[in-house]
Every structure is written in structure tokens, then in C-alpha cells.
Symmetry: C2
Subunit: 273 residues, 2 copies
Amino acid sequence: MSSLDKMLKVLDLFGEDRMSIQLDDVQAAGASRATAYRYIQSLCDSGLLAPTTGGSYVLGPRIIELDRLVRRADPLLTRAGGPMRDVSARLGINMMLCSYYGDKVMCADIVWPERSVPEYYERGRPMPMFRGAMAKTILAHLTPYQLRNIMLWHGELVREAGLGENWEQFRSNMSRLRRDGYCITRGEVIPDLVGIGAPVFDAERRVLGSVVFALPEARFQSAGKEELVAEIKTLAARITSAIAGEAGVRPAQRAARPRKIRSPVPEDASSVE
Amino acid sequence: MSSLDKMLKVLDLFGEDRMSIQLDDVQAAGASRATAYRYIQSLCDSGLLAPTTGGSYVLGPRIIELDRLVRRADPLLTRAGGPMRDVSARLGINMMLCSYYGDKVMCADIVWPERSVPEYYERGRPMPMFRGAMAKTILAHLTPYQLRNIMLWHGELVREAGLGENWEQFRSNMSRLRRDGYCITRGEVIPDLVGIGAPVFDAERRVLGSVVFALPEARFQSAGKEELVAEIKTLAARITSAIAGEAGVRPAQRAARPRKIRSPVPEDASSVE
DNA sequence: AGAAATAGTCTCATATTACGAGAATAATCT
DNA sequence: AGATTATTCTCGTAATATGAGACTATTTCT
């Protein structure tokens, strides 16, 4: 592992529970005092970290600044807000927007009018890759290459999630979801919550993410599946055309963007380094 | 400059206008093709960058994830929201919350009920360090050391901002603002907008940031300065006690946290390296 | 489907520079 | 003001970042 990676791993020290780190924490992660300071210094200079009192460091202003840029630049976020709020106002259904980043699915936005349902989701919360309508909807629309790689490197998880015992099954399951144009899951992320998702694409029909309704089992039963599916499909289509209609940034280039999900030995997650 | 710094400077390529970068951009910033890929690779592995199609890269999911951690951890943000919305509901005044990060002032939150006023501010938007009530309020409450360093390294900017021609004047100006407990500026950031700010402190009475009302000159005139000042002071005090009252994280440590604003030669910003 | 083209990775020798230990400095606490 | 602790600096050594180019992988085009 290069020093660059080691330095960036300092950021991994932060988590739900740990909002500030100290010199010791960096040293414990394997670095001499001087090197720990050097890493911290570079990260502070870049604004990713910020010093506070007592020799502890917190995440810095650059994070917030960069997040703003992401919010401004993300076509999903900028184009989905309107349509989502429209539908929310009309139907009063909780829904969220999920973004896909090569090897991560994340909640990008939520509209949560039904306050009686606990608000588990939240912008920035990482989502499981193989469970829930948000993830499956996206998975289904990945390219064949990406799907094959996922089966190769995360086969065990795919099987656990019941997405198929082998490549053929996985492929055909995904294919079916794709043809349906929607995905319904029940309690896969949160008990009693039904997820109804549909995919959002960019101008080149590559999947960008998904919108999903999240409602309690009871309300799902009374509302009627067909209507909800029609609604989510329409919503997703509206967002997609809002994005694609944007005369904006033309890629101008062709070419590759794999997603190696890097791991030298497929199927073996036990070797940490 | 170390390779760490060089790698992190890749993040600086992003900006309001530039939402994706390419290999060339990194190479142009001074790196061979291999090195450029190495930097990109490390940044992608850490999630700070994410590959898209056509060989371009965008800011990655880790940014969003980390911003969420910042939002959750920032006492300013978590404790100020309630009081700010209370006051907003009662007075219908636009206001914002500013955070201070050693060498940067940033907008952390806004409440903007008065929609007729353009919403220039936004979470994550960097703010000028020497102009506007949000900045000056914070400046005034920095420690003597910090103030002295600022005068040393940013003297010219201090003079330009009319904060004092020399250390004595600067010091006494800041001292006065501190005694007042509030700061009013007129059109220093946005024409016609009056800013009325008050400082927010942590449990150790260190300045964390500021809350400021932002209203058009006309409304400021009719509302009456005294009342607004009283309101902002009360609001800031409420937030401060909400933060200080928090039995939460005890620093447990003493010790230093300067703010070198690093630059080997004071007053000389011309030397880039 | 398959082939051409482009994106991304790997190899290897060399020189840059990251590293570690301790001294010097800067900032707070008493 | 002085003691204490956090942070930076110095410097020789060894590790490793670097650059050029070959190689692989993925995508788009046919």
C-alpha cells in the first residue's frame, strides 16, 4: 500500500461513533509520530481535516465545500427534486432517491411526508448493494460486464441475497427486473417497509440511480400495487427525461469505464491486504 | 511539496464550473500519465473520486458520506437548527449559521423564509474571511494569538477591509466588536443586504461560529436596530447554552491548537511554493 | 455477435523523497 | 510570567514514488 493510500485511510478512522481523531489514532493505524503528523498536516492543508483543541482533529471544511459541489453537479439530485416533491404532494408517500457510484449505492435525497414512519434514510447514508428495491433496481440495469464482475467478485453475497445461485440465474433474474421496469421488495432493509423502485437513466440510457417509494406493508396493501408501480415508473421516467433533455454536458468521448471492484482473488474476501 | 499534497491537489481541480476531471487535467497539474493514474486510483479507492464514462472522474460517494458525518457531529449544526427555526417562524427573518474552521468561514445552514430576497447563501459556500457580519463576528472572538497571526499574514487584507491600519487599530476594533457582542455590516457581501451577527461559543467559550440575520436595507430601517440586535444576541446565547449544556464530549486534554495559516514569509503571498 | 479503439494497469530501473528519532518551536495552562 | 504539551523542523538513510512503455480490459462500432 502506498503512502497515498495510507494517508487517505486516516479518513476511514471517522465513523458514526467517532467524530474526532487524535494523533494516537493515526499512529495506531501504523505510522510513526512524525509520519502521523505529516499525514495530518497534508490533510489539514487540503481542508479535509481541521484541527480543534486538545490535539484532536475533525473533518474539515473542504468536505462541506465538496459536498456542495456534488449537490450542484449531480444531475440526479438537481433534476429529481421537483418531480419527487410533486408526487409527494399529491400522494403523500415517502420516497427516496438513490445514487449509484460504481461500487456503492447511496441515499441521495429523501422526501418523507408520512412522518409516522421512522426516518431511517438520510442523504449520505450508505445502502446495502444487494438488498432493497433501491439497490436491485440499479443492479438490474448495470451492463453485462458489470454484472458478470459482480457475480465473480461478490458471488457469495449475490447468493445470500437470493439473486441467483449462479451466473445464469443471476443474469435472468436481473433481466426480468429490467423488463419489468420496476422492483418491489418487502422488509429487506427495514422490517415492515415495502420498497417500490424504478430506474433513472442519463441521456445515454446508463443507469444513474433509482427512485423508490417506501411504505408500510399495510398501506401498500390498501394502495394497490398496480397504481403504485405506475406512479413510480412515471416519476422515474419524468426524472430521466428531465436529465436527458438537459442539453448540457456532452461526453464527447467514448471508451471505457469498467468497475473492477478491485480484489485480486475473486470470491475471496478474507485476504485483507 | 510532497506527493501527498500533490495528490490532494487533484481535488482542487473541481469547482463551480468544473464538475468532472479527466486524466489530462491531472497530468496538466504536473504528473506523468502513470502518476496521474496512480493519484486517481488512490482517490477512487478511497471513494473521494468516482469514475464515470469516457475517462472522466467526478467527486465520489465518500464525500457525501463524510459530509453526513460532519452534519451529525457538528454541534453548531445540530443545536442551532431548532432555535433558528423558532426565531424564523416568529419574525420571518432570513438568517444563516456560519462555521469557523481555523482558516475558513463557511455557511453551515440557512433559514430563508423571506423568499423575495435572493438566496445567495447555501450550505458549503465559502465566505469571505474579512467581510460581512458572519466573518467579523467570528474574527472578533479569536484568541489574541490568532488575531496577531492574521495581522501578520493577512495584514493587507485586514487593511483593505478597513479593520485597522496596524495591529493596534485591528486589536482595538476587534476588542470593541467583542464588547458589543454583535456586529452589523451593510452590503459588504451582497449589495443592499444588512448583516446582523452574534457569536456562538462552545463550553470553553471558544468561538465556534456565528448566527446572522440578513435583511434588505429597507426592512432593517423599519424593524429597528435595537430589537434586531437583542434578538440575534438572544438567539446566539440560546444556541451557545444548548451546546455548552450538552454533557457530551469532554476534551479531557488541554494543549495547543494554533492556526499557522502557514506561509513561510509573512505578508508575501506571491511565492507560490 | 466480433474487432478496433481507448481506458486503465503493470513492470522495472532510477532517483526522489518519505521515514524515524530527537531537537527546536509555538501555544496553552497554571 | 513559566511550565507543559502539541506541533514543526533537521538530517541521514532506506524505502518507494516516478516515468516510459508494454500489456490488459472494456467499450463502442460494425
